[in-house]
């Protein structure tokens, strides 16, 4: 027990902050992007729908390292887009925190998108028609009618997205690297200390991330609990 306390005292907690920051920011990005993409895909014709759906779901099906490969191709500072970002806007993605966010967002986004789409598709379409005949503008219909009606599905999607973003490893390690205090997330730290054979520290991090995940999901359910009232038990 003393050994554990000793390790806890001497522990570098930066992976916790990096993971939380990354998870939260990536979830926010994924949330809005997912909603937006879901809305667009629902509106599209069957052909566009099939193609768009395939592309948007791809990051979930691909191995994260393959996604990391594409991201590296895009953002590397030896390639046009990466050069442009760095020289024009001073944005560094590779080996930087922005890389963590982008990697986590890309990997977690399909979960948000798919859940949002399923939730939107199950809305009673008469609600939308009724809102239109009442003269409500489209943006208002989306935020005041569609999103609350799809509430439970969106909450589920957000939780899954956050869980996925929090634990992202493969693409993050390729794009952002493992720089302590900057891009070193908990999952990367666990992998690193395991390689050193330090099972005690790895175990502590595993417990920490489990607690974090549990508490956050619990909080999210609590906050959105009001919308969940629409669901009946059965």
């Amino acid at each position: 027990m003393d050994a554990v306390i000793e390790i806890l005292k001497g522990l570098d907690y930066s992976p916790l902050y990096v993971s939380l920051k990354t998870g939260i920011v990536a979830t926010i990005f994924s949330f809005f992007l997912g909603l937006f993409a879901a809305r667009k895909v629902i509106k599209a014709g069957p052909k566009v729908k099939a193609i768009a759906d395939g592309i948007l779901t791809l990051p979930m099906v691909l191995p994260p390292t393959a996604a990391g490969f594409f991201l590296l191709l895009l953002f590397s500072r030896r390639r046009p887009f990466g050069i442009l970002l760095y020289e024009e806007f001073g944005i560094k993605v590779v080996q930087a925190w922005a890389g963590c966010i982008i990697a986590a967002t890309v990997i977690a986004f399909p979960l948000m998108y798919r859940n949002a789409r399923a939730a939107f598709e199950q809305i009673d379409v008469n609600l939308i028609h009724a809102a239109r005949t009442l003269g409500m503008p489209e943006y208002k219909i989306f935020w005041k009618v569609a999103v609350p009606s799809a509430g439970p599905g969106l909450v589920a999607g957000t939780i899954l997205t956050f869980a996925r973003a929090l634990g992202e490893y493969g693409a993050t390690s390729m794009l952002a690297g493992n720089i302590p205090g900057k891009t070193g997330t908990i999952s990367q730290r666990i992998a690193m200390v395991i390689q050193d054979g330090d099972y005690m520290t790895a175990g502590i991090w595993v417990v920490i991330i489990m607690l974090v995940a549990f508490v956050l999901i619990f909080l999210m359910n609590l906050v959105t609990g009001r919308n969940m009232k629409n669901i009946r038990r059965w």
Partner: protein, 349 residues
């Protein structure tokens, strides 16, 4: 306000074609499920788009395929009440009622309060739709539409989701609530009772085809067409062969009718509503058909007989007997003949 609607729409094999022009304020659309009633309403509201035609309300052109006009539902000022009311589940009653209002907050608030009072929703403002009864939900849906002050209100089978007890009361209530509404109301229903009670003019459609348009009572009294007779509730419709201007043969019933009125050349069927038969015991009179009982169903205020005509293949003859005749029937037994009163015979094309 006058209204002129001409809609043509093709959906695969199915084709919808309707046209009417009216100055009346209460219009009914009668048809079976899938006949195109809802599609017609949705086209007026702008939820569906016809292939061809035009929709004009007063001076307002909502849709015109020739000029390429097609207003968004938001711009049509047409209220639509859905069968399931489509109340926004995450909004309270007050928020639902105010959903279509925009602009000044105070005015909005006043309008919502006015509607809440008018539709007897006091005390329910903070409730969610699922915490309301069917009747209350319907009032909220109507209040939400009326708050928005539309020039036309479309009611899509508004009573079909309600149980029988509520139906009658809510129909009455709806009529009262709509009585001081100045715009046009179109009611779509498959229930002839609802339509008869509500509408001044009536459109009858069957499988996308317009059967007739005209004065409601006139159509119920003289349907003229087979489909119109069937949809207005005529149970006995049989093929007829015109012999001359005053005689028509009914093969299914093995009889020949002699009518004082002129029979048009293109008459193909005759119809008689199920409660119009007159029972005859003993001697056969003019315009009588011999019948044998096949089945009987007893209802609280009515007996329904299903009788066999001359040929085996012919459809059953339906005869509904009101309570006042029960005693006579019990005493004398099943009549030998049923007489068709000439006044009630529907000559159909």
């Amino acid at each position: 306000m006058s209204m002129e609607v001409k809609i043509h729409k093709k959906l695969g094999e199915y084709e919808l074609d309707v046209y009417w022009k009216s100055k009346k304020k209460r219009i009914g659309i009668l048809g079976a499920s899938g006949s195109g009633k809802s599609l017609t309403l949705k086209s007026i509201a702008g939820i569906e788009h016809p292939d061809k035609g035009y929709i004009r309300i007063g001076e307002h052109i909502l849709y015109d395929s020739d000029s390429g006009t097609c207003l968004k539902p938001q711009k049509r000022n047409v209220g639509y009440m859905f069968q399931n009311y489509a109340l926004f589940p995450a909004m309270t009653v007050a928020q639902n009622v105010g959903a279509g209002l925009s602009g000044d907050k105070k005015k909005k608030q006043e309008q919502v309060e006015k509607m809440i009072r008018h539709f007897h929703l006091e005390g329910l403002e903070k409730r969610l739709p699922r915490e309301l009864s069917g009747g209350q939900q319907q009032r909220v849906a109507l209040a939400r539409i009326m708050a928005y002050e539309p020039s036309v209100i479309l009611l899509d089978e508004p009573f079909s989701a309600l149980d029988v007890f509520l139906k009658d009361r809510l129909q009455q209530e709806m009529m009262e609530l709509l009585s001081d509404y100045d715009g046009t109301v179109i009611l779509v229903s498959h229930s002839r009772d609802e339509i008869y009670r509500f509408s001044e003019e009536l459109l009858v459609i069957d499988d996308g085809k317009q059967i007739c348009y005209g004065d409601t009572k006139e159509i119920f009294d003289h349907p003229k067409k087979v489909e119109a007779a069937r949809l207005t509730g005529c149970k006995n419709i049989v093929p007829a062969e015109r012999l001359d201007a005053h005689h028509v043969r009914i093969p299914d019933w093995g009889t020949c009718l002699h009518l004082k009125q002129m029979i048009d050349v293109d008459i193909t069927h005759i119809g008689l509503r199920a409660h119009e038969f007159i029972p005859v015991w003993g001697e056969r009179e003019d315009n009588c058909i011999p019948v044998k009982v096949k089945g009987k169903a007893e209802f609280p205020f009515e007996w329904k007989y299903f009788l066999k005509g001359e040929t085996e293949e012919s459809d059953d003859i339906c005869w509904y007997v009101q309570k006042t005749l029960w005693a006579e029937l019990e005493e004398k037994g099943i009549p030998d003949y049923l007489k068709l009163p000439e006044k009630e015979i529907l000559l159909l094309k």
